[in-house]
């Protein structure tokens, strides 16, 4: 007991004794099984030869196979995957560009109504997306004043995710920290607005770009209602909304569903594992502001 340190409330990591250590190990193992287990079981199921419609198993039933992924092609799973990548690719590019431009104006320029605009951006973060779904579908069907119908187009899934209050806010806060001297020096050297922006400000914002990039990616990849109201034909479905039709297709069997679910799961998990540090930082900063 005398060796106990007070880095943490419980100080579990510093407990001595075999019994306590085994207890802690079992506890940790249980946590991993509870939270990661179902997802691991999903992946194993996707590679199993026999997939029972009732369940999962942590060992591949009947051996390892990629048959489910081959069969997935017949059900257009890869087409849906490409749709998802198109939407998330263009959506994220648009979202990041829009955010850094807006943040540059809000953080680096003295402008009238800056506080008012910031408030308006914050308000969209408070506004639940679901509240505007019905009228959004009406607006998308007839965008004034151009009379364009975006329902049934990729643009209808991409443009609405372009402006996201969270990434504008994170970017603005970050850009405020860039020392003003750097910018002034560039101006004295005769750099114009765009040049200053692209060669001075933007390179300095790389950590923040990582944050809004990984968050934007998961946010757009996770979009459900928007593609659901925009897609009019199955060929326009993104992978997440296609899962539902795969499930209700009696002929397909659960193996293909698991393969498709794994493909839908993988990109966001990879993005998280690759950008963990930024992810957690963004999460806490977003939460503390939101």
């Amino acid at each position: 007991m005398s060796a106990e340190r007070f880095d943490t409330v419980l100080g579990l990591a510093h407990r001595r004794g075999l019994g306590a250590r085994i207890g802690v190990f079992v506890l940790y193992a249980l946590m991993v099984v509870v939270f990661a287990g179902p997802l691991v079981a999903l992946m194993i199921g996707a590679f199993s030869k026999v997939v029972d419609p009732t369940g999962f198993s942590l060992v591949p039933d009947g051996g390892f196979t990629v048959r489910n992924f081959v069969a997935a092609a017949d059900r257009d799973v890869y087409h849906y995957l490409i749709n998802s990548f198109v939407v998330v690719g263009f959506g994220l590019l648009l979202q990041m560009l829009v955010s850094v431009f807006a943040a540059y104006a809000l953080a680096r320029h003295k402008m009238r109504f800056a506080a008012l605009i910031m408030l308006a951006v914050l308000a969209t973060m408070m506004l639940p997306e679901e509240v505007i779904t019905i009228p959004l579908s009406v607006v998308l069907a007839d965008v004034p004043p151009f009379d364009v119908n975006l329902i049934g187009t990729y643009a209808g899934m991409i443009l609405p995710v372009g402006a996201w209050g969270f990434s504008i806010l994170v970017m603005t806060e970050f850009m405020k920290e860039v020392p003003v001297e750097l910018e002034e020096a560039a101006r004295i050297d005769g750099a114009g607005e765009l040049r200053t922006f692209f060669s001075i400000i933007l390179p300095l914002c790389r950590p923040a770009l990582g944050v809004i990039g990984v968050f934007g990616f998961t946010m757009i990849w996770d979009q459900y209602l928007l593609p659901l109201i925009v897609a009019t034909e199955p060929s326009q479905y993104t992978l997440p909304i296609a899962l539902r039709t795969l499930r209700s297709d009696e002929e397909v069997g659960i193996g293909v569903l698991l393969a498709a679910a794994m493909l839908a799961l993988l990109p966001s998990v990879i993005a998280f594992l690759a950008f963990q540090r930024q992810f957690v930082r963004g999460l806490t900063s977003g939460a503390i502001k939101g």
Binding site: V98, V131, I168
Partner: protein, 313 residues
Amino acid sequence: MVLRTAESRRAIGTTEDRRTILGRRRPRRRSPVVPWLFLAPALILLFYFKYLPMADGLRMSFYEIRGYLGDQWVGGQNYQEIVTDDQFTAALWHSVVLAVGTTAGSMFFGLILALLLEGSSRVLWFVRTAAFLPVVTTIAVVAEVWRILYHPAANGPLNTILGWFAISPQPFLADEHSSLLSIMAVGVWRGAPYDMMIFLAGLAGVDRSLYESSAVDGAGTWRRFRHVTVPALRPVFVILITLAAIRGIRVFTEVFLLTNGAPNGSTEVLMTLIYKLGLQQGELGIAAAGSIVLFAATVILTVAVRALRRREV
């Protein structure tokens, strides 16, 4: 570019020197139009896909939307219709129960996870990362995984595990008494690791010397937790309740995929009902009124949490 910048900075010297050297010429006139050009894309997109739908939704809620016939003003009739509708009041109730249950469960387990997983060893890092996976997993996949786990037959995955403990098979989503609770459990499974991360960030801010001094004063683990940790985490609690309340009341995807309101309307929540009314039955005006009620509910919840906090402080 960088070289020239460094050079010119050396030549000009410090900021103070620069002011005097360059005198009045320095503040280059920056056009007031420029920031607006940079802001324009964001403002245009926000206008079309946030503000305009919001305003249009408010307008629609007072009209009977009749497509080509033209809309007809009906005043508060849509609202009256929706608040007196049994389906709607049931959905509102389910939403509130689900929001409260998921919030409380996520925070409870999130705090326990955070306390158990606080620290900097590699093992802890690994467990934290594994536990966080549900949060980053696409919600549509989460729903599919749990639909399979909840398979109501005796050989369903969860029922098999229950069988090891001699518990009889549960119907989970298939029965109206357990369906809402089952959806809530999925919400907790996904919400607890998220809350854990926020709690961990909060715990990082707790002054370590307070643990030590209270231990010297003879306080055990529980009293240290109660009198040092909990007060330090108070702002985190408020943030999490606010976020979760908003998240909870607007829940859609999980419910839509797990039960879509079934069995017998026992899991119908506000958003699934609004979706059905607006996009399947074409009752756009009534659906819009429902959305406004949903919006009001989230605003009231947020304000209530804020007010509670103010009283506490």
